[in-house]
Symmetry: C2
Subunit: 315 residues, 2 copies
């Protein structure tokens, strides 16, 4: 009952490739910057696998967590994202890795895979109904219902960042529509909120932000200013927490989950206990939702993909 496997996480900036025994990484993963072309990317993957197989010939399957959309069957990338090499979605990892190395391949969207890791081994361990929301550059989501990933009809479900939170169009989202939750409550949204709100205040009344270049204000600046008691920074931050709350309320009401796990770069900016209390006051159906901090770590996506691959191919 021992499964030795290869886990891969392919993101817009980094690629991780690791050997795992029954879901635990052996040593540190290989790390690469995401290259500019799909050919280089495929070379990185196949080259690393070759090296790993030389040392661990018993490996039978690979789990890949990837940016972009993956089909429902978990064997094909069906949609890329702006920060991936051109034509990335035409790479057929299953075909390449099975014909070349005889390996079984499971592919899953990174946000879905991370949510699966939180459910199996992380913050939501043992909770059959849980949602992981990643607050980073954008907003990603992975949704577990009765122990299964929500995939939708084609595999692209759980786009939780694209609920529109304003009646009249104000701010364009990267998806092309207006006023998506992501446009306001992601890290990127945070910075836009900060810029807008700072511009509304006369230059000399900007306190902590007085000498900052408005186009370069980051969440770190605001958090620092807030720590120092700056009123504007406090307002900007509170507005953002309110905006985060909007989406959590919708998800709580729609899914009645045991928990919502928050991951991503912005999680440290949130007072989870305070927000959990507010969330539960605003839910329409009186069923308490816990707000948890992600625990599966930086390799959550890869670990989730391996957990799914083990269930499909494992001994």
């Amino acid at each position: 009952m021992t499964n030795t496997s290869i886990g891969i996480d392919i993101g817009g900036t980094k690629i991780y490739i690791a050997v795992l025994k029954d879901g635990d990484m052996i040593g540190d993963p290989f790390k690469f910057s995401t290259p500019d072309t799909k050919e280089e990317l495929l070379n990185i993957v196949t080259g690393s696998i070759e090296k790993i197989l030389a040392k661990y010939p018993e490996v039978k399957f690979v789990g890949i967590a990837t940016a972009g959309a993956v089909n429902k069957e978990g064997d094909k990338i069906i949609g890329s994202t702006g920060n991936m090499p051109d034509g990335y979605n035409t790479i057929d990892f299953k075909e390449v890795l099975s014909s070349r190395f005889g390996l079984d391949v499971l592919i899953e969207n990174d946000a879905n895979a991370a949510a699966y890791a939180e459910y199996k081994i992380g913050a939501a361990k043992g909770q059959q109904n849980t949602i992981t929301v990643t607050l980073g550059t954008g907003i990603g989501g992975g949704i577990i219902i009765d122990g299964h990933l929500l995939k939708g009809k084609t595999g692209v479900a759980a786009e939780v960042g694209h609920m529109q939170i304003s009646e009249n169009p104000k701010r364009k989202c990267t998806c092309g529509a207006y006023d998506c939750w992501e446009a306001y409550a992601s890290g990127t949204g945070y910075a836009i909120n900060a810029k807008e709100m700072t511009l509304e205040v006369p230059a000399k009344e900007r306190g902590f932000l007085k000498d900052k270049n408005i186009d370069e204000i980051t969440s770190f600046d605001i958090i620092e200013g807030k720590k120092q008691g700056d009123a504007l920074c406090k307002q900007i931050h509170e507005r953002w927490e309110n905006l985060v709350l909007k989406g959590l309320i919708a998800l709580g009401n729609i899914f009645d989950p045991e928990s919502i796990v928050i991951s991503g770069g912005m999680v440290d900016c949130i007072d989870l206990r305070k927000l959990e209390e507010r969330l539960n006051k605003e839910l329409a159906a009186a069923s308490k939702v816990r707000l948890l901090r992600a625990q599966a770590g930086n390799y959550a996506g890869m670990l989730g993909a391996i957990l799914l691959a083990e269930e499909k191919f494992g001994a």
Copy 2:
């Protein structure tokens, strides 16, 4: 393989009780106005069942669709609604009907049951991922994922009416929170929109609505005015369609369903083809969602409850 069963639909204004053979109603159902007390309500149910059993002693199970929340196991009402008799949620139908008549009992929330009927025998027949949205006095929802009802951890999931669509609090919802989709896009929301927008226009410029009592303007008035080419009525109606669209976009992005079925009193006010086109333009993930008109009819809730009961208890 013949199942004779009893189907019951208990709503805030009406109760329907019918005999069914393999899911088809035999004759017309008994119809009652919902009484003021839970004792009277229980008498109506048990009295009708007694009569039915005298004629159809072969009945073995009952399917009940009800207003309010039902537990995940489908055998207990766990939350009532404002328009039901006091203490309604304390009625233990399973206990009463099994001990008194030896019947098996399945209970399901009416919006969930209606969605199940649309999926099994209605507009979304054969579609494994579909959502039914009921636009009536409020907004109800039932969600089918890979052929199963989304129930959440306790049974109260699918509260799709309570996504908040405004950043700053404007309009209070019946749930206590502000700016829920339901507060704007339900029939009730429609009338509030109409009143607000009419008040913003000087009395003599109100065209078709000039002589109407503002507190009594209904969706019927607006639709009639729109038909007659009135500009204000057209604006009011278009605003409402935009508001309906907001929620549909969120559901499309979150669930990637094959279809969203619209039911309830307001469905006739929507140009479904036009709205479907707009919906699919605004979805973040490029996976077409069909917008369909409900087909399971007035007894959709009861039929859905019977379909669920047949799967659980049927021969």
